[in-house]
Symmetry: C2
Subunit: 664 residues, 2 copies
Amino acid sequence: MEEVDHLAHERRTANFDVDAMKVVWAGSRRAFEIADRVGRLVASDPEFRKDNRTSLGRKDLFTNTLRKAAHAWKRINELSLTEEEASMFRFFVDEPAYVDLHWGMFIPAIKGQGTDEQQKKWLSMAYKMQIIGCYAQTELGHGSNVQGLETTSTYDPKSDEFVIHSPTLTSSKWWPGGLGKVSTHAVVYARLITDGKDYGVHGFIVQLRSLDDHSPLPGITIGDIGTKFGNGAYNTMDNGVLRFDHVRIPRDQMLMRLSQVTREGKCIQSDVPRQLVYGTMVFVRQAIVSDASKALSKAVCIAARYSAIRRQFGSQDGGPEIQVLDYKTQQNRLFPLLASAYAFRFVGEWLKWLYRDVTQRLQAGDFATLPEVHACTAGLKSLTTSVTADGIEECRKLCGGHGYLCSSGLPELFAVYVPACTYEGDNIVLLLQVARFLMKTVSQLGSGKKPTGTAAYIGKAEYLLQCRCNVQRAEDWLNPSVILEAFEARALRLAVNCAENISKASNAEEGFTDLSADLLEAAVAHCELIIVSKFIAKVQQEMEGHGVKEQLQALCNIYALSLLHNHLGDFLATSSINSKQAALANEQLRSLYSQVRPNVVALVDAFNYTDHYLSSVLGRYDGNVYPKLYEEAWKDPLNESVIPDGYHEYIRPLLRQQLRVSRL
Amino acid sequence: MEEVDHLAHERRTANFDVDAMKVVWAGSRRAFEIADRVGRLVASDPEFRKDNRTSLGRKDLFTNTLRKAAHAWKRINELSLTEEEASMFRFFVDEPAYVDLHWGMFIPAIKGQGTDEQQKKWLSMAYKMQIIGCYAQTELGHGSNVQGLETTSTYDPKSDEFVIHSPTLTSSKWWPGGLGKVSTHAVVYARLITDGKDYGVHGFIVQLRSLDDHSPLPGITIGDIGTKFGNGAYNTMDNGVLRFDHVRIPRDQMLMRLSQVTREGKCIQSDVPRQLVYGTMVFVRQAIVSDASKALSKAVCIAARYSAIRRQFGSQDGGPEIQVLDYKTQQNRLFPLLASAYAFRFVGEWLKWLYRDVTQRLQAGDFATLPEVHACTAGLKSLTTSVTADGIEECRKLCGGHGYLCSSGLPELFAVYVPACTYEGDNIVLLLQVARFLMKTVSQLGSGKKPTGTAAYIGKAEYLLQCRCNVQRAEDWLNPSVILEAFEARALRLAVNCAENISKASNAEEGFTDLSADLLEAAVAHCELIIVSKFIAKVQQEMEGHGVKEQLQALCNIYALSLLHNHLGDFLATSSINSKQAALANEQLRSLYSQVRPNVVALVDAFNYTDHYLSSVLGRYDGNVYPKLYEEAWKDPLNESVIPDGYHEYIRPLLRQQLRVSRL
Ligand SMILES: Cc1cc2nc3c(=O)[nH]c(=O)nc-3n(C[C@H](O)[C@H](O)[C@H](O)COP(=O)(O)OP(=O)(O)OC[C@H]3O[C@@H](n4cnc5c(N)ncnc54)[C@H](O)[C@@H]3O)c2cc1C
Ligand SMILES: Cc1cc2nc3c(=O)[nH]c(=O)nc-3n(C[C@H](O)[C@H](O)[C@H](O)COP(=O)(O)OP(=O)(O)OC[C@H]3O[C@@H](n4cnc5c(N)ncnc54)[C@H](O)[C@@H]3O)c2cc1C
């Protein structure tokens, strides 16, 4: 069969070097090559097919995931993949599974909080998957407030053991991924009680299931917490419930890097600084930001390709209709998301650098930048995941009716993605932490303490409070320093306004609480400034490939100017710009859309996603949408028979007026 | 077992008459009584249980729906329900099914477009469900652009028949609900071709399946289009695909109220005015707006009750933690949605009146208000469904992690609701129609033609272009006329700005296209003004019951001021208010939140939803969330066995390092 590329025309009109852009997107030529190779490996292996995922029942779906996870582990070993490649491999398998928590939370927790000895013992087994672990923190009654966890771990000096117990129903562990059906072990967070005193929440390694026959150990009640949002999606994961009835573990299974309990039951602090733990947090959050760019780019890729195929209205003289991608409203919804995908990609890359930087500093005992880094990563986690969740759904709507079919790939992408707004810190709770940092930084301005890093602009408060935007023509908005200053002025002025209003309250804590809705907006402004500035910095780097820089410049401007438009209230209320300038920004935005339009399909091709990874009929590389949609439909279980089950009981009697009616 | 009301305290603190509010919400005492009675009937009938819906596979789910639909029909007959009660009954059964299209689209299409004779013949069968019909308009290649449909209906004067045919793959009918597995008949939209000429799209009644054995008639290929978004959700519906291979139907099955084809094959227009068809459209859209208020209120009810139960942080001296409902950020997300639910309810009620009004006018041959009515209903459909879809997801996020469980009810509510943004007119396409109307109205301002109804304010252009908001204290924002004027000024000025910018373009059509993103904002402003003004009008009516009016006043102000805050850019850029006034509006909003807080649970109780209808563990009337969540979990199929299927194949060999690795 001849293969036709229905998007060939779109690809021809692009005026930049797509291959070079692929490298920029991947981060480096090496990263590109690994991703490309591993992506193809997974895509070409029939064991990893996922097109049937949304129609499987929970049990089949889950067994299927177990099968894939085992096969992936086998392949990773057969191919002797490096750690980086293995993690890339799991990424392309693209199915939430217990292994995510094993590698992503269980192992890092032991690395971060275990002593050298503990690491040696447990990690060597974990690396070989001789044990499978999960991360059991959240309880039925407590998620965000970790300090409120109720599970207890009481030291019994008689037997040199901890007794782990769930004293109430709400203390049941609830949500940990991999817990429900698979994990043999968990890092369990529980209140350490020794010598009659409560020392707060600590981590403990607890074996949950027998390594012989997988049955739960005595005193342990364990199960899955039930169906979650969407078909397929996160239902491949066994998020679990766990109750302890006085379960005993040896003393040396408390993670003792930071605090120790002695044989006698004394709790002592080690001399390892507690701050070291934050390194792990920065690592986890940079991974989440990087995932956000992947999920959003996936959705954008589907919507962009389909929008180039889909035609609606405006046929002249019987010619083809208009591609919906040509409608300005479609562009105004899609292009800022495309720009955001790139923006998140670059800020994610920068966060990787930040992680290395902060790790070095921590090791050198320099904790000065921690509050700023904490605020920055918390804020970026919150902002990028929120925008991505909403953006995926917008992409689905951009596909009209067909986006509602599972075969579009978008419903499952949305359902599997949204919990990122909740786990690893509820997005609102995180933004409030950013706001606290901002208020503190502003309040210290007089004290001579100079804000650094992503907060450095706050040090320019005096200037930023009185500067005026001097945009006079639409093109002036193409100047990065003009954009940067407008975003800095907005962020700073919102923060200072909040600080002033708080200072009017009878007490600062009450003021903070009362104004917390405004504070969220200040926090968002701070985070958007970070992303804009990192995007600008990226675009100012040397870059290979014809037209690559120009496209990224255009996307960077679209990102900034569309934000400006969406938050116009902020910019105008703080007089960071005036309404004439706002209108000019809009005008510039429109012309940027025209500039990007011929490149859109190539700009999503640059993500280099395989059709397997996208798993979307609408997003197919070749754009051959309609025959494939038609083909997919017939695979639905309902189409196994022409006459539906239930016809004889429920349709025929109705049509024939033979439903037995017992008039009351 | 003793029943404890965990929300009793919340209910005690309410300072208004909940029973009176229930009547206001329902629309009248009579409406309340019907809804209350029918709601309980459905809830108490075990045949209608829906708690297992999200874990059924597609086939079981579908058969289950057939069973419920038949049982509902039986009960409706047994109880001799009126048409109004029957439709209420189906609403409380709360499961999308072929009957929705039969009653909601098939019958109205024949009523609106069939001749008296056709109505007599077909409706008598349809009312008794001796035939089951669907509405087959959309095709694989065409949805929004109805005029572009490709299915043909060619008149053959030899046999006095139409030949219905699908000439291309993209002409396959695609999406019609009830089509895939159930309907015996359809109103099929196809291009009428007679005498060698294409007369555009018309409706035809086509039998699809044998009334004897349900098999598709010759020339008809028919099936389900596959899984859609979410577990349960819209997968209870057999949205279908349909292809015709030269299928013949008698001439009198063309719906001939407006156009007729004679025995000789001449196409003639009847003297019935085409505008009459718009009555049906107004009816369908008012129903969608009313559904929006129901879906949003359902989500808000769940989130509000759970937020009063959920506690997180801030325990002092071992006392209980803070209810998350007390956090200002939670209030700032939830309360505007609560206010929107009420706002949509009242504007929906007003639309019912509008429908009656427009029907009378049409019958009297008065078509003058049609363009305004069309713009108003299109806009309100678009706005209320978009806000509701986003609002449901926000409510889900307001429930933290637990909102992600299907047992919260929110994932399914979202998945089943979102297509309302797409069907019956894509929301963006509809807003563009509103924008067209606005531009036309503005352009005719000089001509002496006075805008009426919801567009009357445009007639005050001269005043609204120069008026100034004179709010000086936060309380000034409580004055309805101040709010109204600010919203009128904003809407008018945005529209006039657009009109001016369009007039600068070289041609008006191009100008409209280029500025369409701005035009959407003007359209939204117009629609929000309508809702605000109808809410204000409602609150100004006489109302019984202690405190009822005060609560609605507060909600009305919350609705308006939160919109003002969310669209601050509009208000400031058009100088409809200044930034000082914006800050005062925010201040007023905060104090309104405090005023409403003690009443929130009672305000959602006023919806009078049964636990069956809510089908949410988090939204239970008694607030007994945790034990029930725990109980629900164990019902998951994965918990049928302690050791998961697949353990022996995929987990044990992995733990034991026995995955057969074939080193390459
Ligand atoms: C798919 C998924 C996977 C998960 N995996 C794991 C896992 O592997 N291991 C594990 O231990 N946990 C896991 N979790 C749990 C997750 O970490 C928690 O759900 C998360 O921390 C949010 O906490 P919560 O659910 O208690 O929300 P809550 O804190 O109860 O949030 C409810 C509402 O209250 C608001 N709120 C809470 N506190 C405040 C405040 N101080 N100020 C203002 N508003 C506030 C929130 O914004 C939210 O709107 C997972 C959750 C999900 C959904
Ligand atoms: C659950 C469900 C049930 C349905 N039930 C039925 C049914 O019973 N019977 C039936 O006949 N149909 C039914 N439909 C089909 C439905 O009516 C169409 O999906 C709807 O009309 C949208 O059309 P579309 O899918 O072609 O979207 P498209 O028009 O292709 O939309 C794709 C994108 O293009 C944009 N766009 C399109 N035109 C323009 C324009 N002029 N300007 C700017 N942007 C534009 C849209 O905004 C959207 O972003 C159903 C659909 C769904 C999802």
